[in-house]
């Protein structure tokens, strides 16, 4: 059986098809190999990726960021920064890390560095970090967030503390005084009830979904002096099914079903809450001051109408505390020393260089972005004083609205260290449960969540 010739024997149909198939297979293979290729250092050229590019909904911030990238690249010949807008999620990060494809430098929350260290997904940057001038100014608690066994695995750069954010107009319309914050859970409940009755707007919206229910429940437990985890490492025990948690959940349940002072929906995630509060559909929400820019840029919220109070404390067992968190840069395990050094240098330049911080603050203020909101302290000494001076010099926010929050003197308690996001996920149904049914028993819900989460802890995953 011979194939039909087209005149030239080299171009028989069979030959043509075979060559095409080989070329096709080669093309596909080459593309697959190209896609798998590393993006790191070679021939003196260094490329690293980061997830921190600001969102396109905030073009002013994107422009400021890109200008700094350009300046850095000009001053560090051969270094290319490939920045993506890929906000951190625990699930996303660890999925990528499982395939060793996480970004070389990741902007992450304080909750996860210890898990990253335990799983070996982050690089030891002790050598590079200690060369930076700001490094010696870290508070011990800030340094501990991304350190283990004397080694440094991350650079915390911003801290927050949770507080009670409120809508000034609605507070006043309810006959309440913005200068008199609710000091206890009872006061808080009474405020929410009064707002709902006098204005018809829900007094409070609580976060419940996408791990935020657990996050906020942790904060409320701190305000009652309670704990969520005891022990450490493989012997960690979940202890959040305690009387403090039960008391707070009963309070929340009463606000929903007795006082009818809560926002109607049960499933409220982080962005939902911002939208609800930013569009005046609830008078109070637990938030940190670093959400003010998002409220302004995404929901055009009037910054003069927003105030912050310190967290109300338990009336019987005040913890005199609030939950603190923040942002930390971590770096990919397995990256070459050139890449790690370049990425740490970039972080040092963009987030910690006082002249850059001052310039970007000036640019942000000129672009109409909110400047000057109070943050949790993660530095000490002259470096911290310089940061404060810059913030106050260019502040365009009504700082008096946050004075009680910023000067509350409450202890800043870090988030529970072991499997934090998994614990929050286990606690979400508890908060949803008490907001779903007046008959739901907080103790039973907490016990179930404790069993579920303890199983995760015991599995050692």
């Amino acid at each position: 059986m011979t194939s039909r010739s087209f005149g030239n024997p080299m171009l028989s149909r069979r030959t043509l098809m075979r060559n095409a198939a080989i070329a096709g297979a080669g093309f596909v293979g080459a593309n697959i190999l190209a896609a798998c290729g590393p993006a790191s250092s070679s021939n003196g050229l260094i490329t690293f990726t980061t997830n921190e590019l600001p969102a396109s909904s905030n073009p002013a911030q994107v422009k400021i960021y890109q200008d700094y990238v350009q300046t850095f690249q000009q001053n560090h010949k051969g270094v290319t920064i490939n920045a993506l807008n890929d906000p951190y999620t625990t699930q996303g990060y660890f999925t990528k890390a499982a395939a060793h494809s996480q970004e070389d430098m990741v902007d992450a929350p304080f909750t996860d560095p210890q898990l990253m260290i335990a799983r070996g997904t982050v690089a030891d940057i002790t050598t590079y970090a200690k060369q930076q001038s700001f490094f010696s100014s870290y508070t011990p608690s800030a340094l501990a967030i991304a350190s283990s066994g004397g080694s440094v695995y991350g650079l915390p750069y911003a801290g927050y503390q949770l507080g009670l954010m409120f809508n000034i107009k609605l507070i006043k319309a309810a006959g309440l005084d913005p200068a008199s914050p609710p000091k206890t859970w009872d006061d808080f409940r009474a405020y929410a009830k009064q707002i709902a009755q006098k204005t018809g707007v829900p007094g409070f919206v609580e976060l419940t979904n996408q791990n935020t229910g657990g996050w906020h429940l942790t904060n409320w437990i701190y305000t009652g002096g309670g704990n969520l985890e005891s022990g450490s490492g493989s012997s960690t025990q979940a202890v959040f099914n305690n009387p403090v948690a039960v008391a707070w959940l009963q309070n929340l349940q009463a606000m929903k079903f007795t006082d009818k002072s809560l926002y109607n929906e049960v499933l409220v995630g982080y962005n939902d809450a911002l939208q609800i509060f930013g569009t005046n559909k609830a008078a109070m929400v637990v938030e940190a001051s670093d959400t003010l820019p998002a409220l302004q840029t995404a929901y055009q919220a009037d910054m003069t109408n927003i105030g912050l109070w310190p967290m109300p404390q338990s009336p019987t067992n005040p913890g005199n505390a609030t939950l603190s968190g923040g942002h930390v840069y971590v770096f990919k395990a397995g990256d070459s020393s050139d890449v790690l050094n370049a990425a740490v240098e970039w972080a040092s330049y963009y987030r910690f260089d006082l002249s850059v911080i001052e310039n970007s603050t000036v640019q942000a203020a000129a672009s109409g972005l909110p400047v000057g909101f109070p943050t949790a302290t993660i530095f000490t000494g002259s470096y911290q004083q310089s940061l404060q001076a810059i913030s106050q010099k260019y502040a365009n926010l009504p700082l008096d609205n946050y004075a009680l929050y910023a000067n509350s003197g409450l202890a800043l308690r870090p988030e529970p260290p072991v499997q934090t996001q998994a614990m929050y996920a286990a606690l979400d149904p508890v908060v949803q449960g008490v907001l779903t049914s007046a008959k739901a028993d907080p103790q039973t819900l907490l016990n179930t969540a404790q069993t579920n989460f303890q199983a995760t802890l015991s599995s050692g995953s």
Binding site: R14, M17, R18, A20, A21, I22, G24, A25, V28, G29, T90, Q91, F94, T95, A97, A98, A99, L115, R119, G120, T121, T208, N209, Q210, N211, N264, E265, V266, L267, G269, K281, Q419, Q421, A422, A425, D428, P429, Q432, G433, L435, T436, S437, A440, T448, T451, N452, A455, T456, S459, G460, S461
Partner: protein, 315 residues
């Protein structure tokens, strides 16, 4: 010993050669075809079969992908079977499949028959009902999220027009699951409607003509001709729907996150949470294998029925 082995080897050689030669001949004759197939086979093997086999292996390992995996025996299966959420997830998935039958199974049949009976504008209705199928699932989810919003959502706003009380839809454990089924039905029924309509076209017209001559009204024609003629395709689609609904993920993941109060925590969502919230890939794989076995049983039933129907058709 050596002398005994020698003949065996010499005897084996021609057999091997005789087995290999046709394969080589086949490969030589079809080189181009095989080369064209190779990328597809490679991609299919890498993205389908490799994950399936690797999933089985993972289910017997303690492996978070960040260190050296260790053999875990049956511990992942024990963990999954003792997890209180295991039964919650299966109960929810089964309820979802049941609601899917009540809501999602009948509507496409009714719509297909109704469109088939319409004399004018059949093309318009076919397109209208198929349109949601081409909308990306995430867009569908956000669209319905807005429609289900308690205060100011489209559905509750429409209810207020007729002075009906607003409903909690996704916000109550009793209504969240059926609300998700409505979304799934809306998003997917277009394809099913088309399949039913194709089946309706295959029913011999003389059956209806004879029935009309006998004075049968539309309901009797549907009951006595249409439904019996479509019985086979209805049974097949029923099983396909059950297999698909047990694997539901997108709707609960995007709209409820498994809430409120775990009322929409499905098996696949639990697998996702094991893997990506807790980093327990062993447990995630173990539950995946259990789900796989359940689906294998359902698929065998499906194949059995289609085979019987085909044989029946051939007879």
């Amino acid at each position: 010993m050596v002398t005994l082995d020698q003949p065996a080897l010499s005897q084996a050689e021609p057999r091997t050669t005789s087995r290999v030669q046709p394969l080589l001949r086949f490969a030589r004759r079809n080189t181009a075809g095989i080369l064209f197939l190779l990328p597809a086979l490679g991609i299919f093997g890498f993205f389908v079969w490799y994950p399936v086999v690797y999933g089985f292996i993972l289910s017997f390992q303690k492996n978070a992908f960040y260190g050296v995996p260790t053999f875990a025996g049956w511990s992942n299966y024990r963990f999954v079977l003792h997890d209180p959420l295991f039964w919650t997830a299966w109960r929810n998935s089964a309820s979802y499949a049941l609601y899917g039958l009540l809501i999602g199974y009948l509507i496409p049949i009714v719509l297909a028959i109704a469109i088939n009976e319409i004399r004018h504008g059949t093309g318009y209705f076919r397109l209208a009902f198929y349109l949601p199928v081409i909308i990306p699932p995430l867009v569908t989810a956000f669209l319905w999220r807005y429609m289900y919003t308690h205060d100011g959502g489209l559905i509750n706003s429409l209810l207020s027009v007729v002075h009906a009380a607003p409903q909690p839809w996704l916000q109550s454990p009793s209504t969240a699951l059926p609300s998700l089924v409505i979304v799934t039905t809306w998003a997917n029924m277009g394809g099913t409607v088309l399949i039913y309509m194709a089946a309706l076209q295959g029913i011999p017209a003389q059956l209806y003509e004879a029935a009309e001559l006998d004075g049968a009204n539309i309901w009797r024609r549907i009951w006595n001709i249409t439904l019996p003629q479509m019985r086979g395709i209805m049974l097949i689609l029923l099983l396909i729907q059950i297999i698909a609904t047990v694997q539901v993920f997108t709707e609960p993941f995007t709209l409820t996150g498994g809430g409120p109060d775990l009322s929409t925590m499905t098996v696949i969502l639990l697998i996702y949470n094991y893997a990506f919230n807790s980093g327990n890939f062993g447990a995630a794989s173990a539950l995946s294998v259990i789900l796989f076995l359940v689906l294998v049983v359902l698929s065998l039933i499906y194949f059995g029925i289609t085979r019987r129907l085909n044989l029946g058709g051939a007879e």
